[in-house]
Symmetry: none
């Protein structure tokens, strides 16, 4: 079949593809991620591209304005290529070079100060260890085989009664022993009762020992390179999960996995993303990949399944059964990762189909399971998860919050990367002040920015408690476009994109639903154990919302319960934190399975109590005023400006 060449701008990436191929897939093949919330289902209208030369079929949509169509804008997901092409990906469709939050903290692996007391059991004890041996040279009188000589040395020097060996390592033994004068370093995989020799190196290499912790998020992948001789994080990197091209959330990914080669495509996409992140941390620290002993990865259950190439189908269907939720240790190469044969991959255990390894890692990293106090853990990601408990018991629930807080479904939503609006203040004239990440011209709004914005809109009376605009205010920023009311955060010429940045009433509805689901999840969990908000000693927030998450504003909109601010801790990426700690500490990793098994999952779908709580929470901050007395006191200050539309 005829193949065409497609060049993508601004990067100049090239890909070849056959006649009729879908343009979104061509871009993915070239390693380019075009924002596509709906996974190519032609509903979200976000994958706009500009066809600069060449011919396509399709690509039109009512999501495109006549001006855009005139300029060559098309929807990539419905475009089929019919010739060589030059395609420009507009800024708003690029999943930019982002840098996520933990990156900024980077250099030293340490539980954040506030958490040190929460992870008291942490001590440096890597999952694989290195042992240096100086062995006697073979003679006719001492002519045991090379492998037995190693075993004897391990027994004499380190008291290992026995061991096993991988074939790939065995192959390197005769040559390396002789090259090194029988002075070698062994890397041992210690699981079960018999350690396995997975690697042999010349001379004493015990100081050169590294591993990588990985958080496999639905939206983003994070990697942290760890020096195991010191327990230090040397470098971190993150990237968008390349699976995004095939669906924005878990459900869409599962749906895609059921189509033809879908599972394979999704596995390859995440493997490619992880490889990229590994490559970047290694490059940054100038360390070669053969010095890596293992990876420790945490992700939600579906992400884990897709990485392993396991069919996630039954996670989606009641009673929501994963293939595996336990700790798993395999060769990294088994999932297709292009790493040396000795590199192991450890996967974090989960508690249920929607309470995955990322949550176990967060719980582990924050020490909830060792706490005497009652802790509430809230992970705000593409899915929202809530855990409540202490060292005695833990209950958890997954809330279908939707990807609003990660930028999905919101017209100008985006991830917390350069140009994302993180913080908003609005003055008495309805004029906003915006703080963007990296101080770049605004490109969109991230999770923290949305929370800040909605709270400001509410406090200033621009919206009412149902999230509807007060059209009686004299400002050009509140307007109606195409029948939809919106507030303009930044006019086109102030932005880093080619249009006004706005928040619409449907966006606000989405946010209210998302925060309502989170809050209702917390309430349902508390009810399930007969406790109330006042019983909670500490609230730990995890997620990639952005650095500037303002607790006060999150309480104002009713996302978090109204308690004293001092009870809140924000830890950023909890999954990566737990994976990093466990990568450095066998005791921590072993505890993970115990934690996963001790969490009781409360299923919220079809749960009438949750539905009732959810309906009650679809209000800013909540229909039950007594739950947010301080917020209501503050809101009353602006009551003069409010037009009651309730």
């Amino acid at each position: 079949m005829k193949e065409y060449k497609v060049i993508f701008y601004p990067g100049g990436e090239e890909a070849n593809a056959p006649h009729g191929e879908n343009l979104l897939r061509v871009a993915a093949a070239a390693g380019l991620y075009i924002t596509a919330s709906c996974g190519g289902n032609q509903t979200c209208g976000k994958c706009k591209v500009i066809i600069e030369s060449g011919e396509i079929e399709g690509g039109l949509s009512d999501k495109l304005s006549p001006e855009e169509i005139e300029k060559g804008y098309r929807m990539a997901c419905t475009s089929k290529i019919k010739s060589d092409l030059e395609v420009r990906i507009p800024v708003e469709s690029q999943l930019s070079d982002k840098r996520v939050l933990t990156e900024a903290t980077s250099k030293r692996l340490l539980i954040p100060e506030s958490l040190e007391t929460l992870a008291p059991e942490y001590k440096l004890n890597p999952l694989l260890k290195k042992y240096y041996l100086e062995l006697p040279l073979p003679t006719l009188k001492d002519n045991i085989d090379d492998y037995s000589r190693l075993k004897r040395g391990l027994k004499q020097s380190y008291n290992f009664p026995d061991c096993s060996i991988s074939l790939s390592c065995l192959k390197t033994i005769p040559g390396l022993l002789r090259k090194s004068g029988f002075k070698v370093t062994l890397t041992l995989l210690e699981t079960g009762n018999i350690p396995e020799i997975v690697k042999i190196e010349e001379g004493d290499r015990t100081a050169e020992h590294y591993c990588i912790a990985i958080d496999i998020g639905t939206t983003s992948i994070y990697a942290a390179l760890i020096d195991l001789s010191q327990g230090e994080v040397l470098a971190t990197a993150s990237d968008y999960n390349a699976q995004i091209a095939y669906g924005e959330d878990i459900i869409n990914r599962i749906v895609y996995s059921q189509k033809g080669d879908g599972l394979k495509t999704l596995q390859e996409a995440v493997v490619k993303t992880i490889e990229g992140a590994i490559h970047r941390v290694l490059k940054e620290a100038d360390i070669s990949e053969d010095k890596i002993s293992y990876l420790v990865a945490a992700g939600n259950t579906t992400m884990t399944h897709l990485l392993l190439g396991l069919d996630p189908k039954y996670i989606r269907e009641a009673p929501y059964i994963p293939a595996i939720n336990s700790t798993l240790q395999i060769q990294a190469a088994e999932v297709g990762l292009d790493l040396p044969a000795h590199v192991c991959l450890y996967l974090f255990p989960g508690a249920a189909g929607y309470i995955g390894g990322d949550i176990t890692a967060g719980v582990l990293g924050t020490g909830i399971a060792q706490s005497d106090e009652l802790i509430l853990f809230i992970d705000i990601g593409t899915n929202g998860e809530v855990v409540l408990g202490n060292s005695e018991w833990m209950v958890a629930a997954a809330c279908s919050a939707g990807p609003a807080f990660e930028g999905g479904t919101i017209k100008h939503g985006m991830r917390a990367t350069f140009g994302a609006i993180e913080q908003v203040e609005i003055d008495e004239n309805c004029e906003p002040m915006l703080i963007t990440l990296g101080h770049k011209p605004p490109k969109g709004i991230c999770g923290a920015g949305l929370i800040s914005l909605i709270a400001e809109l509410l406090e200033t009376g621009i919206i009412n408690q149902r999230g509807k605009f007060n059209t009686g205010l004299s400002t050009t920023r509140i307007r109606t476009k195409g029948g939809t009311k919106e507030y303009v955060l930044a006019f086109k010429d102030e932005t880093g994109i080619d249009e006004d940045i706005v928040i619409t009433e449907p966006d606000i509805d989405d946010l209210i639903r998302a925060k309502g689901a989170m809050y209702a999840g917390v309430s349902t969990l508390l009810n399930s154990v007969g406790l109330g908000i006042s019983d909670i000693s500490r609230i730990i927030i995890a997620g990639n919302l952005g650095f500037h998450l303002e607790v006060e504003k999150a309480i104002t909109i009713g996302l978090f319960p109204e308690v004293d601010y001092s009870k809140f801790t924000f830890i950023g990426n909890g999954s990566l934190l737990g994976a990093t700690l466990s990568a450095c500490s066998r005791e921590m990793f072993e505890k993970a399975d115990e934690i996963a098994r001790s969490i009781t999952n409360i299923e919220l779908s079809d749960n009438p109590e949750f539905m009732e709580e959810y309906m009650a929470a679809l209000f800013l901050p909540h229909t039950e005023e007594k739950r947010f007395p301080e917020v209501l006191k503050r809101l009353s200050k602006h009551r003069c400006r409010r037009t009651e539309v309730r």
Copy 2:
């Protein structure tokens, strides 16, 4: 065509055959070997049978006396069947008990009667086992992951506290559980303290459980398919090791492995041969390869290294160090065998660079390590190995005998397969009578045939004690061709090949060196522990020499020491015997490593005592006449015909 039923007595074996079929072939088809010296050429008169009922055509011969004809005796090779028959095979026409024992028992894996006392610990206990589970269906209240459900089932039904799983198996679990209604059979690999689930099948498949035992010889590969539910051998196959093309013996193979891709070439060659043998046994028994759970392979140290792709270089250089000599368990696919991912490969441990897993297997299979009596074990293969000992101690030595006994280096040497001359008798006119394997026209001479032949040549005075021809005899069978003296065993038109089958003086020299090395090895071992031949209670001979190995003749040529015949047992392929037993018995396999570690290797290369013994043994039977008094008595009978050329 009409088929008749033929019943053979005393065994009661039955065969169906068409009208007019040759009775010798009917017997062969029933698995019965009727002595037929001439390979069915109707000249030897040895295949007498008694027709007890029914009608035949032909079968008369001047080899039969009138009394015999009266009693119903006929020659099987010229009898054609014309009705249902009952046929008795008289004692003198039955192949002796010296048939390879494992072969004789063909249908049922049993330690041959004579060995039962030597392997008392044998009981059916496969290395991998199958377990059937009927699991409760998942519900919202019982929604643990599939893998945990399996683990719980294994714990509840079979008391396994924990287990692990291979990724390849994990992938099949969700689909298979649901397809089977959660009724499945698991195959478990039980090593270390945590068993691994390697395979899952729908429904109860515990009865369908098979493995294959393999002997990896330098010259030949043997495979036996075993039904693990019964401990029965269902089929066997053998083939030349395709590595032969790259060197006849171990040293040449090691040399070849050092050239360019040599190691890879050799690995691929043996893998291909093993695959062929596996394919044949599976086809014969009509069993698909996915029903195989594991392979158990025994081979000498170099063969094992080449199969694993391990560099054998240091086995050849003093102090002769292998990479590994312990038990090894890997995936069969890791060495390139085209088998499903769940198939394990177990390799037998060896004792030294030249005392490999084949010898450990032979020692294991014959029970030397459990014996109170002193046993001498001699394995005659491409290399010759000797083990001496009992339950208290064992010493072993490898003799560079060369491949003469397996047919290598001998002009018309061949493996013990159809058409191989196994037994030779020479009359007073220097005329030979030949017994071939499978009653086929002769194609060459196997190990047993060579021993028989050399003994006959010696006893009849056709050669002298130095192996030189007596050219003074009046026979056309002794001749000089191209400057080389030779004896014609069969002229071209009597053979199954396109030339005369001969034995040459250089062939005889080779045989004398080979038998001299074996004998000297035995003597050196005995000397090393201060014992003599009279201290030996039992001598066990292993090797693929052929069915008809005649102990008397082997003593005549000085291959075996002169002791009472009753002390000898011939077990055929000891390596395959040990591998087969171990494949059926975890206790046996575990004992192998213990045996390998308890054997003391006596190095013969550069051993002056061995060299002295070897030089003294380069004579028929030996230069020291007092070691073979009975042989010399017999030889003196023919002394009248001898022309002394000494």
